[in-house]
């Protein structure tokens, strides 16, 4: 009997190693190039914020005029970093959860190169002054069908894997992962066709663009983060997901509510009245799924305090989930019609919410997932505990500052905008100190990500530690979340009986 268990555990370890090896190149490519785009985006973000604080900075330079830099900053953040990190994590997650190795890594890798090329062309076009002027869809029109095609090459194999898996229960993590993989092309295709191909009412085109922005945030980034959190939390803590029914509520409320949100940004514009109100109601209800997801994943993670304290992956994931909770609650509190919606509709809150969603909640969970995945697929351990800590602390302080300052500062900015007894310069003055603080916070985030990028690059070049002891944040290796011998069997597949 024990012989059988040992044998099946060995086979399990071999299978996991095979899956990891099959995906090593595409996943590492997505992570590393994503991190490079993140650095580009942060530099552009710093330039954009600096220009908001001090307009004389790089003034009159066409390529770096405020509007273009801001558009390039958001586009690289969303499509360069966000999408690529998500693709890397999602294809790995589905392969692991369906227990099949990926047989199309060459095609995925080629598609990944195409994706990067398209993002680069798109970003240059925006800076050169060929942007479309549609928020979050600033890349020139021709880029979008190519991006969709590339996406289908990346995701189709994962969807096939999901379809042909051994029949049985679909895991919580898989719901969110498949949700994200299905919603993303649906959103992009709809927005592309309606905004760029079918001539419609200009106002409804703007409405569709606002819906698209909210959709990418709540139906792609949020479920991807949830998928990774629902995978990592039970995996590292070794405990089952805290509450299945709570997760079920989280997923289905998100699926039912998320697609209605977005058009509250057009409140007061001459479009059918029910649309902004429906959007506001949905944006308020987004709080529910985030609470459900956060409670069940955090309860799972904290069920093993020792592992929670020492695992870098869990530390990042937990921070990301807390940011997700803050995002959901802020969405509920800042979208109330006749009260806070008019303050936040056109204030810097919007930017703060975007950053909280993309960098705060999504990216932190992605960093957590990367700290877990990269050692497995490169079969090397992270080099330095100190670099991980540095990345964590500076990123956390930075993003908390950006989010809190922009969301709360945005409310004050909105109060200034609404106070019509004062001239407009007083409204501008309301936002100014918060923009200044945002600039400093972005510098912190850039600093932290420089070290992350270097660390990741070294791992990609397979210069990581050859050890079977994972790099943990605590002092002793006895608490290793991967058992006393670690999970990475550097002596070859199957040599270590993993958990």
């Amino acid at each position: 009997m024990s012989q059988e268990i040992k044998q099946s555990a060995e086979q399990d370890a071999i299978l996991r190693t095979t899956i990891d090896r099959s995906l090593r190149h595409p996943v590492m490519f997505f992570f590393t190039s994503g991190a490079a785009w993140l650095a580009v985006s942060l530099i552009l973000g710093i330039i954009a914020t600096a220009k908001m604080v001090s307009p004389e900075f790089m003034d009159g330079c066409a390529w770096f005029t405020q509007g273009r830099v801001f558009a390039a900053h958001i586009s690289t953040l969303v499509y360069g970093w966000g999408c690529q990190a998500a693709f890397g994590v999602l294809i790995w997650l589905i392969a692991r959860l369906t227990r099949q190795e990926n047989r199309a890594s060459g095609i995925i890798l080629a598609a990944g190169h195409a994706w990067n090329l398209l993002i680069a062309v798109g970003t240059f076009s925006i800076l050169a002054g060929y942007g479309t002027g549609v928020p979050w869809m600033e890349f020139p029109t021709m880029i979008w069908p190519a991006l969709l095609l590339t996406y289908s090459l990346i995701a189709i194999w994962t969807m096939i894997q999901f379809r042909v898996r051994t029949p049985g229960e679909v895991f919580v993590s898989q719901w969110f992962a498949v949700g994200a993989l299905v919603w993303f092309p649906w959103l992009v295709a709809t927005a592309f066709v309606l905004v760029f191909c079918v001539g419609g009412n200009p106002l409804m085109s703007a409405g569709v663009a606002a819906w698209f922005r909210s959709g990418i945030t709540y139906l792609f980034f949020l479920p991807t983060a949830a998928a990774a959190a629902y995978y990592l939390a039970p995996k590292i803590s070794g405990r089952p997901v805290h509450s299945y029914s709570l997760s079920l509520i989280g997923f289905w409320v998100l699926a039912a509510v998320g697609p209605w949100a977005g058009m509250q940004k057009l409140a007061g514009a001459p479009i059918p009245f029910f649309l902004p109100y429906m959007g506001a109601a949905a944006a308020v209800l987004i709080g529910i799924p985030t609470i459900a997801i956060a409670v069940s994943t955090l309860r799972t993670m904290t069920s093993e305090p020792g592992k929670f304290a020492s695992s870098p992956a869990l530390r990042f994931t937990a921070t990301g989930v807390v940011c997700m909770l803050i995002l959901g609650i802020s969405s509920s509190l800042t979208n109330l019609p006749n009260s806070t919606l008019q303050l936040t509709q056109f204030s810097i809150t919007q930017y703060g919410m975007d950053i909280l969603a993309i960098y705060g909640s999504f990216s932190f969970v992605m960093f957590g997932a990367m700290y877990f995945i990269v050692p497995r697929i490169t079969r090397r351990e992270w080099l330095s505990k100190r670099l991980i800590k540095l990345h964590f602390l500076f990123s956390m302080y930075g993003v908390i500052a950006v989010a809190v300052l922009s969301v709360l500062g945005g409310m004050l900015h909105g109060i200034g905008q609404e106070d019509f007894k004062f001239t407009w310069d007083s409204a501008v003055a309301h936002a100014y100190p918060y923009q200044m603080a945002t600039l400093i916070a972005w510098c912190f985030v850039l600093f932290s990500n420089f070290f992350f990028f270097v660390h990741l690059l070294l791992m990609w070049m397979r210069l990581g530690r050859r050890s079977s002891h994972p790099t943990l944040l605590g002092h002793a290796h006895i608490d290793s979340p991967h058992g006393p011998d670690g999970d990475i069997d550097n002596a070859g597949p199957g040599s270590v009986i993993a958990h």
Binding site: G60, G268, A429
Partner: protein
């Protein structure tokens, strides 16, 4: 949860919102029905025919390409959604010399000629729905001021046009002491540098198109009462 339930749930949840909040409203609003002036209520009769002139298509492109929408909006919200109507000059003028209170919120005809309504993301700068009228008013006031100041030395060739004022602003948004607080970026790359010192920089075609587009944004026409939710006007004397 089985795959069948999952797939059905996914299509039902996203599909219903997609259909009812996005696709159907999009196609239902493609053709805007004409609005008529009501007999007895409005001064005019017949169909409301909004006019908008200027280089709208080209100008909107320049506006979009340079990301003006990041800091400027183009919507005057009704009072239930914000206080935009009360901002000086945003929605019209409270005391227009000819027509009295002309303030009104944005209507669907304000965006005609554009492919994408630049509602905007943030209001770091002021709303631009009525920027054309504001600049016209400023130009008239400036000319009046100079006329009284100069007296007999004034002639009509000294007149400032709204175009010239707006071009000056685009070249250097902080050119006036009263605008020192502005954080608007200069778009001086849309101008040719002056050939020699002392000459004014000449605008490139893009700058002219942008100015044409901005000056076309006016809320100075009479709209049917059915579309006007502005504060009620005092009864005619």
């Amino acid at each position: 949860m089985t795959l069948r339930t999952f797939t059905f749930g996914m299509i039902a949840s996203f599909g219903s919102a997609w259909l009812f909040a996005v696709v159907l409203p999009f196609f239902k609003t493609r053709d805007v029905k004409p609005v008529y002036f009501a007999d007895g209520i409005d001064e005019k009769t017949g169909v409301y025919f909004p006019k908008r002139t200027g280089q709208i298509t080209n100008g909107a492109k320049v506006y979009a390409q340079n990301g003006c929408y990041v800091c400027h909006t183009q919507v005057v919200r009704p009072t239930y959604a914000g206080n935009d109507i009360h901002r000086d000059g945003w929605a019209g003028f409270k005391a227009d010399p000819d027509r009295g209170d002309t303030r009104r919120e944005s209507n669907v005809f304000d965006y005609q000629g554009e492919e994408f309504a630049q509602i905007g993301i943030m209001r770091i700068g002021p709303d631009l729905s009525n920027v054309g009228s504001r600049y016209e008013k400023t130009a008239i006031a400036l000319n009046e001021l100079n006329k009284t100041k100069l007296g007999d030395a004034w002639n009509d060739s000294m007149k400032t046009s709204p175009e010239a004022l707006l071009l000056e602003h685009l070249y250097n948004p902080r050119n006036k002491p009263s605008m020192r607080w502005s954080t608007c970026p200069s778009v001086r790359f849309l101008f040719n540098e002056p050939a020699r010192e002392g000459l004014a920089p000449s605008p490139k075609p893009e700058a002219r198109a942008l100015v044409g587009y901005l000056l076309s944004m006016k809320k100075n026409d009479t709209v049917p009462a059915s579309m006007n939710y502005a504060p009620p006007k005092p009864a005619a004397q």
